[in-house]
Amino acid sequence: MNRQLLGYALAAVIVAALPFLGVYPIFAMKVMCYALFACAFNLLLGYTGLLSFGHAAFLGSAAYATGHALKAWGWPTEIGLLFGVAVAALLGLVMGALAIRRSGIYFAMITLALAQMVFFFFLQARFTGGEDGLQSVPRGTLLGVIDLRDDLNLYYVVMALFALGYFVIWRTVHSPFGQVLKALRENEPRTLSLGYDVDRFKLLAFVLSAALAGLAGSAKTLVFVSATLSDATWQMSGLVILMTLVGGLGTLTGPILGAFIVVLLENKVGDFGRALSQLTGMEWFNQLGGSVTIVIGLIFVICVMAFRRGIVGEAGALLARRRAAARQA
């Protein structure tokens, strides 16, 4: 336990020092937003066993809600953040209540369809600016003191938001409530027969996950001073599944690593392609930057076929095997 705490403290110090080590703050903040998004998603898929194919709806709706509150209504930043989270949670309540009426594969299809409906709403609604999205959202000041226009100030605020979200997830997973969620994942009929109101637990997990995904969306609006339609697309819902899968389903730190890899990939695939093209002399690799989807799709297929535990999951399994071998020797 103490070693775990020490590890988190060390990680916090390193992350806090990153801007001084030459890491571009916006990039690091982007990773943190997506990491929180993936952790929130993992709470549902990894710990409750529900595959939501519509989590982009929560990211997008919170991003738009916060953006609109700050830009059009001129609300203070902290209220804008809360408003975004509240909107995402409310949407989560409605979508969750509908989706948990079916389970398994249908659950995934229903969440996907409902999220697509939310996407069309944002596409047509007047306040979202259609295809352009909301641009130049004012970041404002936090609690009237901290000026968020400074990237470095915002960096620590986003870091604090991420830490808060991560703590909520950590606390949830290690609570009696979290135990029931895991029981649901392993065997739903048995959990039901033990007297747990299965639907209420599922719905609560769904709303919690939606609210945290919303927090990530609201923070993302502050970072990029914009909210765009791409946050609400089904591709985004797929991307968060990939982040969680690459990092490790049902591990606390896996989604963070997965988010980092995917964001890095999106930013760097072009450079990588150019390097490959110089190395091999094949012209085609130059286009790689324009077709990130191919790379993402390929990683998806490889992960599902051969790498289902993800990086953190595989590492954990390797460690467990080593320990077992050491005990036998």
């Binding site: 509908l98 995934a108 697509q116 709403f121 599944i241 989807t293 191919i294 799709g297 599902v304």
Partner: protein, 295 residues
């Protein structure tokens, strides 16, 4: 001019026909999804991408090989079906023992891969495809002008759907298929090669998507993204109809197409979302779907 609720009847019937055309695509795609799901327990996300592949096959056949529409109407589904068989043998087969969700995730990844490849070669703008000569023009029925090609799409797809229904519900082959859906191990014990049956079923379901794609080529723009926008609506259609019945899938698909068409007339803003709204209502009233059975 005759009007209904202030809408000229010509426009109304035109949208109705357009709705039927879309409904035919929904019906064929959801039928394929249902057949595949029945035997494989896999929701084939790649269905949309394979439908797009069918449309592109028609276009490529014409542009590169000079094969006309009628040749591609036969060849397109076969090519797409063979491609599906390759996917099943190489990839999907290894996932049957796992949670069903992995099948969905794999086919999702394949969708991104296929779409990404086509986008990097052909871009996002659509390719035009000429309507076959026999079906050009329109027939005046007196109360409306019927575009021949659209009528052909509806007739062809309903025929294919009904033939599929007949094969599955009324022939020995279909009986084996249904038995395989209920209890594959028992069917295997009777000496049926179930893995081969699974492979061919996937190929057939995917071939239906390819057929729909070739049919769609002259009416819709052939673009790499044409499939994934459609497949999400088809998922909603499948949730509404439930996957228990073949006829149910056909009726639901056509019906929702018509409803969508009518919404375009009376409330254009909602035409994109009406299918999803109906899905929400059906989930509240009859969670198993209109034709579904609770398992």
């Amino acid at each position: 001019m005759i009007q209904i609720f202030g809408i000229p009847i010509q426009a109304l019937l035109g949208q109705l026909l357009l709705g039927l055309v879309n409904g035919s695509f929904y019906a064929m795609l959801s039928l394929g999804l249902a057949v595949i799901f029945g035997l494989l327990n896999v929701i084939n996300f790649a269905h949309g991408a394979l439908y797009m592949l069918g449309a592109f096959a028609a276009w490529m056949g014409l542009s590169y090989l000079g094969l006309n529409y009628w040749a591609m109407l036969i060849l397109g589904p076969i090519v797409v079906g063979l491609f599906g068989i390759v996917i099943e043998r190489l990839l999907l087969r290894h996932l049957y023992k796992l949670d069903h969700l992995y099948g969905l995730l794999l086919t999702f990844g394949l969708t991104l891969l296929i779409e990404g490849l086509f986008r990097s070669v052909y871009g996002v703008s659509g390719q035009p495809y000429p309507t076959p000569e026999v079906l050009r023009g329109a027939t005046n029925l007196g109360f409306m002008v019927l575009p021949n090609y659209r009528a052909w799409v509806v007739v062809a797809s309903i025929t294919v759907c009904l033939v599929t229904w007949f094969v599955i519900e009324r022939t020995r082959l279909g009986a084996l298929l249904r038995a395989g859906t209920e209890n594959p191990r028992l069917v295997e014990a009777f000496g049926v090669n179930v893995p081969r049956m699974v492979m061919l079923t996937y190929g057939f379901g995917v071939g239906l998507a390819g057929f729909a794609g070739v049919l769609a080529a002259p009416v819709l723009q052939i673009s790499p993204l044409m499939g994934s926008n459609l497949i999400i609506v088809v998922f909603a259609v499948v949730v509404i109809g439930g996957m228990g019945s073949i006829l149910g899938a056909i009726v639901t698909g056509l019906g929702l197409g018509v409803i969508e068409g009518l919404t375009k007339v009376f409330w254009p803003e909602a035409s994109n979302t009406v299918v999803f709204i109906i899905m929400a209502i059906v989930l509240l009233l009859r969670p198993a779907g209109l034709f579904g059975r609770e398992k």
